[in-house]
Symmetry: C3
Subunit: 152 residues, 3 copies
């Protein structure tokens, strides 16, 4: 099954790539690696979740926010490579979760991103990962995720 067919099966639409909010590019290639800039839970360039885990944002909403980050990472990648067959594998994911100091479930939040990547790409989608808490993220978003992938 092609990735496009798999996306349809999952009823997923890769959104238009968000515009960078500052002086950087969404993707930068070095050899076979593509480094994708940190993405937040935005739709049409507007954040759909704001606040911190442990306060305004529930675990469920945090998971959903991380899933949106994954969709935006993929939209940036798709804009760069144009054909999913060029993707050899997801390599690493780093998820930063805006958290109160007694919220400890960052891995469950970042699973929103990891689960989606594995659902779409299967073995190609599994990855090394880091899940971290931070006290605040740009624009008060609850989650930011960056990713490195390898091309064929």
């Amino acid at each position: 099954m092609s990735i496009e067919e798999r996306l349809k099966e999952l009823n997923l639409v890769i959104p238009d790539p968000p515009e960078p909010v500052a002086n950087f590019v969404p993707c930068r290639t070095a050899g076979k690696l593509v480094f994708i800039s940190g993405q937040g839970p935005v739709i049409n360039n507007l954040p759909v979740h704001m606040g911190k885990l442990g306060k305004e944002i529930s675990l469920e909403d945090g998971y959903e926010a991380a899933r949106l980050c994954a969709l935006n990472l993929l939209s940036q990648l798709k804009n760069k490579i144009s054909d999913w067959n060029q993707l050899k594998k997801i390599v690493s994911v780093r998820g930063f979760v805006a958290s109160t100091e007694n919220f400890y479930d960052q891995p469950k939040v970042v699973n929103g991103c990891s689960d989606l990547l594995c659902d779409i790409f299967g073995d190609r989608g599994i990855h090394a990962r880091c899940a971290l808490g931070v006290n605040v993220l740009p624009g008060n978003i609850p989650v930011e995720v960056e990713m490195v992938v390898e091309l064929c």
Copy 2:
């Protein structure tokens, strides 16, 4: 001297690799690089230190925690490559230290990881590094370290 001999000389045993706590893999290879997922100070999948530097965790315990992170990173790597001769060099280490907002000695904490890598591997073990404070880490661990290495 082989790495196995050096480990014996240092009276070190590489532990069994901790199981990932969520949907990711411990190591992912891209070309000659291996990205190793963030590891905490756990033994037999249980954290042996919990809390923050500047509060419950002393500098000495933080150093020890970072050293345990290094052992776990190496256990994941060893599980992947099986032979230390495949390791060309440690490339980069990123250490996140759960800290109160007036604790400033993150580099001394992360040295617990760096010192061990250099003790074991000598010139092959030196690395680029980032040491950072964060307000909280998964499961209330005090230190999480991720690593990139290069294979021969």
Copy 3:
């Protein structure tokens, strides 16, 4: 125009490389990639800004601090490669901004680094990026930036 000429035109002097404050090296090469250790806003090994954004450090001073981080990253790189022609491109920049929990303008701070890289290197200087808030950084510096570059 050569990079040396461009630096003169911008009235910029690449400083002497800061000494690592702990057990690591400033640069580590893997294939064509160079990983450069996190740099702070120091001159002659002393921090010139201390504190957090949202409290002691204004947005303007934070921007200036990130610019100093960029100069120090470049000083470490120059010390390694000796000739700017060896630099193919800046690949990725990760900027950590010590922030109070209601400071949301990390991207504007990290622009201090990104703007300088683009001013000096043009198309070679653009990069993927992550801008993050953290509650504290080593030595109470307001900004720390790490970088990956690709050599020719």
